[in-house]
């Protein structure tokens, strides 16, 4: 069984994979180890887990404006996520997603609460749909 939710396309494309969900904003500089993708921010309950090859679900970025550069280097080193799902537009993250050709969509906060780490997600940014598979 799967459930579909509406989302808003910011950067187009499609991706699927396992979700990593954190309900606090994350800094890509300082808050994530670029060499492994591991979350270092102790405020996140997913601290210690890696965003590499995940559908990374989080509210928006915080902290350093090196975000877009960091995200693009991580994607180049293949330690980056497959897609980004946010609740609020973050201009620096938009830039990082654009130059890394990562799908980026926005969802409502209440929908974010329904997605759990470990869920299998399909992101269809151009169709503005995300699908949670097998719940």
């Amino acid at each position: 069984m799967s459930i579909q939710f509406r989302c808003r396309k910011i950067v187009g494309g499609k991706a699927e994979g396992v979700a990593l969900v954190t309900n606090v904003p994350i800094s890509f500089w300082g808050g994530i180890d670029p060499l492994t993708g591991e979350i270092l921010d102790k405020e996140s309950r997913e601290c210690g887990k890696s965003i590499k090859d995940k559908i990374f679900v989080f509210p928006f970025g915080k902290g350093s404006s090196a975000l877009s550069g960091r995200l693009s280097s991580m994607c180049r080193m293949r330690t980056g996520p497959k897609a980004l799902v946010n609740t609020k537009l973050d201009s620096n993250l938009v830039l990082g997603a654009l130059v890394s050709a990562l799908p980026l969509v926005l969802i409502d906060e209440e929908i974010m609460h329904k997605i759990k780490t470990g869920d299998y997600l399909k992101v269809y940014a151009d169709e503005e749909i995300i699908e949670v598979v097998g719940t």
């Binding site: 300082g30 102790k42 902290g63 404006s65 090196a66 550069g69 693009s72 280097s73 973050d90 654009l98």
Partner: protein, 407 residues
């Protein structure tokens, strides 16, 4: 997004491949964020030696269209003594030459307003560096979004940025009212307030009420830099003091969306969260985050004058090459070096995280790291896991560096 005929020509490649790359990025960026058009700007901060951007800068006829200063880089002038390999420094030298050629100013700092890049009230600008964005928007009343290194280069090449976000009046109004119920004196106390407000407000714009005296530039620096470690906003207001809240504080909905207060308890709690220890034998003492101003260096020099830093402690002051030159002219570099400390120009010890040479000090040799910056302490605690981080006043950090122990 609507493009003017000139912008269309930039997109077609009439002004060379670098400008074409820039306009392609800005058009996509504008579409993604929902901007209707581009606006003209003449102030950019934030070029860095990222490989994909250096490639653009090497393109034929690549010349910047507007004023642009360069961001902090991972290659300090003191590269030899911190054990950096020659090939890394060669990259830096090439980047410096490239910047000279295309028209960027080699400031290499996270505090551009200290080295001549000072926007005016209401000016639309394109700045990278989280602290500087908050400072420019809130303290000066200039207007920048949270830009990144790619948009900074694109805007510098075209003199354009998408009109959205903090460029628009309606997005500059306050949301969360924070009543200040304790006296704030030191820059570190202002940092504690920023740290707290960032955590509470997340992306919303805070309005501080109850600060009666205009903060000093050092106090503003503490507030702006710490606010953006925990928050993602580029703007705050202080009722009656900051330029856009001088006469009347405007809230987005006519009234605050939320209210909270910051008193003695919140101040204590924020300090406890910023530091991971309260005492210990000191290994590193780091000052100048964001980059030290000439007055901050003067203060450190006066505190160290005629004294010796403990032999087990390394003391570094982070700043730009411009301010370091002035410090040298003033004799401050000499005083600090005679005491056993050093000034590090253009860079930051945390820039490369765990991989950084940490001033020739092996990672495992560090136990206690003291700093007078809330922002530096916050990132150090993430980037140097397992290390004891202490955030305190400049005077107490200097005392600890001299005695070799923080008590």
């Amino acid at each position: 997004m609507f493009l003017t005929s000139i912008e269309e020509r930039m997109l077609r490649g009439d002004f060379g491949p670098a400008v074409q790359w820039a306009m392609e990025l800005l058009a996509k960026y504008g579409d993604a964020v929902g901007a209707e058009r581009l606006i003209d700007i003449n102030n950019v901060h934030g070029l860095v030696p990222y490989p994909e951007l250096v490639e653009i800068m090497r393109l034929e006829k690549c010349k910047l269209k507007v004023k642009c200063t360069n961001h902090i880089v991972p290659f300090p002038d003191e590269w030899k003594e911190i054990g950096m390999p020659d090939k890394d420094y060669d990259r830096q030298r090439e980047f410096c030459q490239l910047c000279r050629k295309i028209g960027a100013i080699n400031t290499f700092t996270c505090a551009p307003y200290q080295v001549g890049n000072v926007p005016v009230f209401g000016e639309h600008i394109v700045w990278t560096e989280s602290f500087a964005q908050v400072f420019a928007n809130s303290v000066i009343g200039a207007r920048t979004n949270n830009e990144g290194i790619q948009s900074s280069l694109a805007s510098a090449l075209t003199g354009k940025t998408p009109k959205f976000g903090y460029h628009l009046d309606e997005n500059r109004k306050g949301s969360v009212l924070i009543k200040i119920q304790t006296r704030l004196e030191t820059p570190q106390e202002y940092s504690a307030l920023g740290y707290y407000a960032g955590r509470i407000c997340r992306s919303e714009i805070p309005v501080f009420k109850g600060i009666r005296k205009t903060p000093s530039i050092e106090q503003y620096k503490g507030l702006c830099s710490a606010l953006r470690t925990t928050g993602s906003m580029c703007l705050f207001h202080i009722a009656g003091l900051t330029p856009e809240a001088k006469s009347k504080v405007l809230f987005r909905e006519g009234k605050p969306s939320d209210k909270t207060s910051f008193g003695k308890e919140e101040l204590k709690d924020s300090f406890e969260r910023l530091s991971t220890a309260s005492d210990g034998k000191v290994d590193l003492a780091v000052f100048g985050c964001p980059h030290a101003s000439i007055y901050e260096i003067q203060k450190i020099a006066f505190l160290l004058n005629g004294r010796k830093i403990h032999r087990d402690v390394k003391l570094w002051v982070l700043t730009s090459n411009v301010i370091k030159s002035l410090a040298t002219i003033m004799g401050y570099t000499d005083i600090i070096e005679k005491a056993g400390g050093r000034l590090l120009a253009n860079s930051c010890d945390l820039m490369n995280g765990r991989r950084f040479h940490l001033f020739n000090m092996p990672f495992e040799h560090i136990d206690v790291y003291v700093t007078d910056s809330g922002k530096h302490g916050y990132y150090a605690s993430q980037l140097l896991p397992g290390k004891k981080i202490i955030v305190s006043t400049t005077a107490k950090c200097i005392e600890a560096a001299v005695k070799g122990i923080f008590k």
